[in-house]
Structures are given as structure tokens and as C-alpha cells.
Symmetry: C2
Subunit: 205 residues, 2 copies
Amino acid sequence: MHMSLVCLAKPVLYGYFRSSCSWRVRIAFALKGVEYDQVPVNLIKDGGQQLTEQYKTRNPMQQVPAVEVDGVTLSQSLAVIQYIDETRPGPRLLPADPKKRAQVRMISDLIASGIQPLQVSNYDRQVRWPLESILKQTSGKYCVGDEISMADICLVPQVYNAERFKVDVGQYPTIKRLNQTLLEIEAFKVSHPSCQPDTPAELRT
Amino acid sequence: MHMSLVCLAKPVLYGYFRSSCSWRVRIAFALKGVEYDQVPVNLIKDGGQQLTEQYKTRNPMQQVPAVEVDGVTLSQSLAVIQYIDETRPGPRLLPADPKKRAQVRMISDLIASGIQPLQVSNYDRQVRWPLESILKQTSGKYCVGDEISMADICLVPQVYNAERFKVDVGQYPTIKRLNQTLLEIEAFKVSHPSCQPDTPAELRT
């Protein structure tokens, strides 16, 4: 009997505990209830393990995350999340309604394309205030209405990063409220940078 | 009789002839055969017309493009393109197969998130070579297999921008081949920056 073993294999996530894009993928796996294996790629050790030839073969972008799933290797966290959403059972990560889906993608792209580590000083003016303004219109309990979506998956790691860089999110009441609500949810807790296999002992909480 | 006039109205594109993100949306409209109105937003004149309070109300990001469609205003070109694809008849801009769809999104995100105008000098090393490497694996006649997709919509304006900044794409044979093939297609021609309503006379060809 010929069995399609590829499809039965658990996905493998190549990621880094503190990478916001890796965290996004971990949240998505947790929300969908998908079991997966993690292979840590340390972005600092050995001058950056993502720069090795071995990793480059896996992901030419030499970035984390990369995910091996169903026989293909995917990078770019939003593409990975939507693939998982479309091929796995469990709660939808993108709403069924096309307009709401467009708003989820708009917010996700805004966060994902806005994160430019070298421009932290300009980041607030350029991205966070417009984000607050959009979320004021789209949010219910969560970023878009009352269902958790890819937009929420993007928001929480972004706020975590902002706080690492000492940005006071208190001035953005909608962002602050949504972040607090989301951090209470199990999928956001188990995927948190403070409790991953590669989290250093001194950063564990 | 109650008629849903909102749905019958033509979409309105707020864009700029030379913005690569605006061009993406124009290509998508052309491929789908969707009629739309254009409102030029000049990013240079008057210190940047996208910065006015009037435009900010429309798009808090103060960027082009923004599209008014079916009673909502959407920004972020990939979100707009996918909305148009999901709600309009005509050729699919994302493949039906989930793996191919993931590859299309991966390439599109790679191009979209990689475009950082302030880092043109690093851009080649960071994005274009990995893109060539991915396209070598995914491409057929077009970026992913033999059907035109959102990835192609992203590629052509990116190469146009690269050439404006004097990058020699000749060293990327797959990118060069795909770009040449795509530029022969009517939807990429009619949407080209050289022939838009707001293209200055001296740049028309």
C-alpha cells in the first residue's frame, strides 16, 4: 500500500525564541492545535546561525522563521500562517467575510511591513499611531470584530518588541486593551518568548 | 425597491503614477478586467498630498494606494489585491492549490516587505539574490508555475524600481526572463507608470 507519509509528518519550525515573526507562527500553531517540532536557529550565537550554508539551503532569505510542512519549505510568517489556516482544521485565522478578511490582511501587512529594526525612532510616528486609528474602527473584542485572527497574531509580538525598546504603549488605548486581552489566552502564553526550548535560563519567567 | 448601490459603484484608486504599490493594484484591476476611477495623490507636490488632513481621514497610514471599494476603504496593496481577487470574477490572482498559493504569498511578501527605500545599497544582497534563488525553484512561464499571480504583480514594479536606481538585473537571469515575459502582457502595459492620468508629459512614452 502506498502511503502519503509526507502529509502525516509534523511540521518543523526553524525559529528563534525572541523573533517576533517566529512567535507569530507559534501562536498560529497553538490556536489551530497543530503539533510541531522546533529547531532553534540562534540569531546571535556563532555570528548568526541563520547565515550558515546549511540554513541557506533551507531558506535562501537566511531569516527565521522557516517551516517545513507537507513536503515544502515556506518562509515569510504571513504566508505560513495562511497556509496553516487553509490546510488544517480548527478555528479560522482569517474571517469568512471578504471585507473582514481584507481588514485582517491590511492590519497584518501594516504591522509586518512596518517593522524595520533600524528605524525604531521613526517607528512610532510612522506605524503605531495609524495602527491605533485603524484598530479603533475595526476592533471588537479583538483586532477585527470578536474573533481572533491573524491580525491579533501580529499585534502581540509587535507590542512585545515595542516594550523591549521602551516604547510606552499606554498612549495607544486600543492597542493596549487588545494586547492585554490577548495575553490572557492560552495560545499566546504557551508560545511566548519566555518559555521556548531555546529561551536562555536567565530570561525564563 | 431597495438597491444595493454601494456594490455597483466603481472602485476608486487613490494612487501615484510612479508608486510601485499603486502600480500593483492597477495591474490587478487590469488582469481582472475591473473598471475603476483614479484619483491622483501627488507624493511630491505641495510637500506631499498624502500628508493632508483630508487624505489622512481616508487612509491613516498617509500612504498610497488606498482603494474605496464596496463601501470600505482598504490600504496595503496585497490586502487590496486579494480582496479584488476574492470578490470579482476573472482569472485567479492566487492559485487554487494551497501550496502554490503559499509560494505566491511568500514571494509577494518577500518583495513587499523588502522594499525599503532608505536601504537601497543593501537591498541587492538582502532581497534580490534570495528572490532569484526562490524563483528558480518555483517559476514556470511565470513566478509560480504557468499562471500569472500576485507574485508577478509584485515582481514587475520591483524590477522597474531597481532599474530606476541603476541596479543591473542582468545578473539575475530568472528575474530578468520573467520580467520581460510579463511586460509583453496588456495588463502590465496599460497600468505602467509611463501612461497614467497623472504621468507628467515629459515622462510619457
